[in-house]
Amino acid sequence: MNRIKSAFENGKAFIPFVTCGDPDLETTAKVVRAAAANGADLIELGIPFSDPTAEGPVIQGANIRALSGGVTTDKIFNLVRSLRTDVKIPLAFMTYANVVFSYGAERFISTCREIGIDGLILPDLPFEEREEFLPLCRKYGVALISLIAPTSENRIAMIANEAEGFIYVVSSLGVTGMRNEINTDIGSIVKVIRENTDIPCAVGFGISTPEQAAKMSALSDGAIVGSAIIKIIEKYGRDSAPYVGEYVKSMKEAMLAQK
């Protein structure tokens, strides 16, 4: 239906996440371009929220830095407009339901289409509440991404059956953040997903090293990395773009090397 499919056509997909406006929008633009140039297949653009209940301390910190820098939904829309002059890979927004709802769902989702956003990831919008935005997402051709968690169990088939774009497989219990080990049986979750849909699935939460990315993407169609990238941005600030680019390259290479 939209560009998202193409993200999974270059081997396993590497999907980095960045919080827009951390530390400022100029840096976000440079980071996104560096990630795209170094092998990112799809980029998740976080619209910061004051109270991100699914995030660990690292991404919470990015949200606070971005909001205290004065970033708003409108400014992020403008960032995407300018990125879209040269960035061709799929882009998805990651934010919280209230950011979309409060802006006016139709105004928000129609703007996504207009500026070239392909997907919308809302961690506080489970399957049961998808009707809040799904009809508008379908109307404007924006994929409403479904999440599947280690606790989903009997719900996996139901969610997979109606999924669009790609499926975000949450690797671990808890909030976002780097983990030494991922103990969930990703393989068996993916098996149930595959029995129910042809839509690709990527694993996120807790992935930071090339080894983890290779391992998780071997079990699925891709790997999503957030906190590890935010850490780089936290460390290098306005100069972080080349470091993020280098990191993305190492992750994508490790995933491609995996047979």
């Binding site: 929220f49 004051s50 699914a54 919280y96 961690p123 506080d124 049961e128 968690a149 719900r155 219990l173």
Partner: protein
Amino acid sequence: MSSSRGRFGIHGGQYIPETLMNAVIELEAAYDRYKDDPDFNRELNALLNDYAGRPSRLYYAEKMTRDLGGAKIYLKREDLNHTGAHKINNVLGQALLAKRMGKTRLIAETGAGQHGVATATAAALMGMECVVFMGEEDTKRQALNVYRMKLLGSEVVPVRTGTATLKDAVSEAMREWTRRISDTHYCLGSVMGPHPFPTIVRDFQSVISREIKEQLLEKEGRLPDAVIACVGGGSNAIGSFYHFINDESVALIGCEAAGRGIDTFETAATVNTGRLGIFHGMKSYFCQDEFGQIAPVYSISAGLDYPGIGPEHAHLHDIGRAQYVPITDDEAVEAFEYLAKTEGIIPAIESAHAVAYAKKIAPTMGKDRIIVVTISGRGDKDCAAIARYRGENINE
């Protein structure tokens, strides 16, 4: 428009991460199974009566009535419950339910500390592990309650994110629940959050209005003309309103914390200053900016210092069945002192918001009218903060 489970008009729902969905589904199934179970109710009622001290008294405030010169004022004395507030009603119910579900650990958020103390109490009684999340700002405002929770064997985690108050404590408790679900029940303290919490908490708190109705019928042979309660998330208010919702002659009045005034940014009056949104698992009214960022609210009362309101209250407001009025810090402090001097009752600063509104409307009503004011908690915990507000420094 969503039509998922747990709706009050357009409000409510289950806006939570997928990780928690099976946990709330399991909770709903357990609640449906036990809510009418005779054994469960026998055990709960025994605890409410013998341990918590129910029924709480309905006290005729004769001096206050005479002083204000209008409607007859009754006080529903939830402050006399064990642990000093209405919170124990809900906590005993949820802790029993959690035990039935095989959970061994309770987590809770707390603002003023009353819900945290109640949860720590129930955990001690039932031999469960307990962790309470409390905004760091509130741990300072309510240091005594922090000590009480620790004394009861609970761990208290100061929350430093955001405004370091109640909303952040709720966020952190939700995060903790996604980390550890299998042995842990999130003992939510108000009629808020995702379904089924607003319904479960309301049902456990509805004992307040059931008793008011019986007690007033016995004393006066009739229904009250108005029931007044303070509202943060709104659990003592919905408990006070619930059995009167179908009695159209009874005015239901919720008192919101206006802080320094609803024309300032330092307010927590959600219905009066907020708008429709989605946060903490529910659709309801929230204090927020034009882009949906949740506002850093303020009130002298740590228990009402919350940017949202329970979905059933939002609905009662929409249909005009209940009225939500703002009460400022100044008015609440004045009422706190007034009730102490007039009736010898020191109310929680939260409850003082309800007393303040009763003071406003009682003189405008005839002497044949009856107002019931719910004193949701006792005010010992607030004495140091009120002294500071009046420029006096005392050691707790």
